[in-house]
Amino acid sequence: MADARNSGLQAPLWRAIAIYRLAALAYAAFLVVSNVSEYVRPVLAWPVLAVMAAWTIFTTYAYADPARRRMPLLVADQLITMGALTASIWVVGRSGLEAGLPTLAVAWHVAPVICCAVAGGRRGGIAAALAMGATDLVVRAHYDQAAFTGAVLMLLAAIAVGNLVRFAEVAQQRLERAIELEATTRERERLARDIHDSVLQVLALVKRRGAGLDGEAGELARLAGEQEAALRTLVAGRQPADPIGDDLDLMALLQTYASADVTVSGPAGAVRLPARTAKELNAAVAAALDNVVRHCDPGTKVYLFVEDEPAEVVVTVRDDGCGIEPDRLAQAEAQGRLGVVQSIRGRVTDLGGRVRIVSAPGEGTEVEMTVPRAPIS
């Protein structure tokens, strides 16, 4: 809150009050000059006016410093202004005031109320307006509608300014948060670049140097390699869910599977497919990868290959794992025991495509999914 108060949006308000105070002083001085002949003690009007002028100049400088916009100055402002108002009783005289002559501090007495509203919000403004309004009414000693209207106007002005300040503070905070967020984003991008240039390189180096070693060193190298792949995917920050119109980029979806054990290859550009087709293919690939994890030894390499043909898209998931006997595969499938394979086949057939599974013991398994492109509209 203090930050919002010291910066940006409040400074113009304080300047506006200073200008108002100066204008009000000029107006009050003009009224004094034109009415001085009717005063009870006209000589005393000039020292009061001088004090008001001095106070106007002092507050202009005093309120310019955010550190001084606190209780002592606000209370002093209020008291001095009340003093100038009250002096009217002796200078102008009771009868003059009752006859409708303005007070010495007319209009000028609103300035400290607005100051309280700006510094203390709605509550500060209301308190100051009530105190100043009561003083004004007591000094003028007549309680008709016109007198009350002045006090009510001052109260409404204080409430309005108090609200305005609160909104300005909220706006200021939002702005600051937005700036902060932007800075954080920029910082994150810079970090991603740095990680790319340093940490990734070191991890790759550790993996490379330890790759041939046995035991713990080899294990450390393998871990470094895994982390390198994971970190690379993280900082690459490709948005897989970004739709291109109603289409999705299949390459972006599948790229997220890239790791130390999974290689993803395909064309350099986007492979656009209708969102449903892309998502179903993605799910089929996930099932195929899951199958490898379930049935093959850890460390089995998987190759994900995407071909973008004019009429169809071919996705191949090949592993270099243990593989299955061809007749066993057919047998299991016939008996409905190949849950994962069936899930792949089901998804691809629903898209009007076909699945080809090739496997041999020791040769790994190759799942080739071919899906027709939807007719280009």
């Binding site: 790319h196 240039d197 340093s198 990734l200 390189q201 070191v202 790759a204 180096l205 993996k207 490379r208 140097r209 790759a211 041939g212 390699g225 390198e228 792949a229 690379r232 690459a236 790229q255 890239a258 130390a260 290689t263 993803v264 290859s265 395909g266 064309p267 350099a268 550009g269 390499k301 190759y303 290959f305 995407v306 071909e307 973008d308 043909e309 004019p310 191949t316 090949r318 270099d320 190759e366």
Partner: protein
């Protein structure tokens, strides 16, 4: 036989040293190292390496620019490109510009040394990822509206396509040779041809562009 001269270009000093040490231990002569592309081109002119191990991402200039610079200074130089991550379009552009091999930085030490020796021997080093990129590029060229006559668009033979698909699926040359009943050498030649076609097409395109825009082809005197 004198040792093969290698130059290592990478902006990461630790990596540069590690790779240089491995290469020296394996009997190569590391004649120069550099952390910047422009400096690398200048040094290469004097150090005359046979093989340049080049990081795709350098702080000052793009991989394509470094490759063009190196090939202008040393026309016969072999360039093995490394990258830490799969900046696919950059990798493809660099290969088209004339790199002779590509390897991921996460490759193991043995794989790396094998790649350097194959590069030095004049072979093309492909990763499954690169095979996918090259296949994708040929398909893109086949459907893209041709700038000139249709028959100028490079095409792969059926065999070449078959071989590249198997490379993309992660099979080694030995496995591909067994599966297609070919010799290891023939598989290697098919892979090399696909890259050659792409690089030739790239040069033709660049020359056409230069002529259309009134520029002289690179490395040739302007017509009188």
């Amino acid at each position: 036989m004198s040792a093969i001269r290698v130059m290592v270009v990478d902006d990461h000093p630790m990596w540069r040293e590690g790779v240089s040490r491995d290469l020296t231990a394996a009997g190569y002569d590391v004649v120069a190292t550099s952390g910047e592309g422009r400096q690398a081109v200048r040094i290469a002119a004097a150090a005359r390496p046979d093989v340049v191990v080049l990081d795709l991402q350098l702080p000052d200039v793009s991989g394509v620019e470094v490759i063009n610079g190196l090939r202008a200074e040393l026309p016969g130089v072999r360039i093995l490109m490394l990258s830490a991550s799969g900046e696919q379009q950059d990798v493809l552009d660099a290969m088209k510009a004339g790199a002779t091999g590509y390897l991921l930085k996460s490759a193991g030490q043995a794989e790396f040394l094998d790649a350097v020796s194959r590069t030095a021997a004049g072979d093309t080093v492909f990763t499954p990822g690169l095979a996918g990129l090259v296949l994708g590029e040929f398909r893109r060229l086949a459907v893209a509206p041709a700038a000139g006559a249709r028959d100028e668009t490079p095409k792969l033979t059926e065999r070449e396509t078959e071989v590249l698909r198997l490379v993309a699926k992660g099979l080694s040359y030995r496995q591909i040779a067994e599966r297609l009943v070919l010799s290891h050498r023939t598989v290697q030649n098919h892979v090399q041809n696909t890259l050659g076609k792409l690089q030739l097409h790239n040069r033709v395109e660049l020359t056409r562009y230069a002529l259309q825009n009134g520029l002289a082809p690179l490395g040739e005197d302007p017509a009188p």
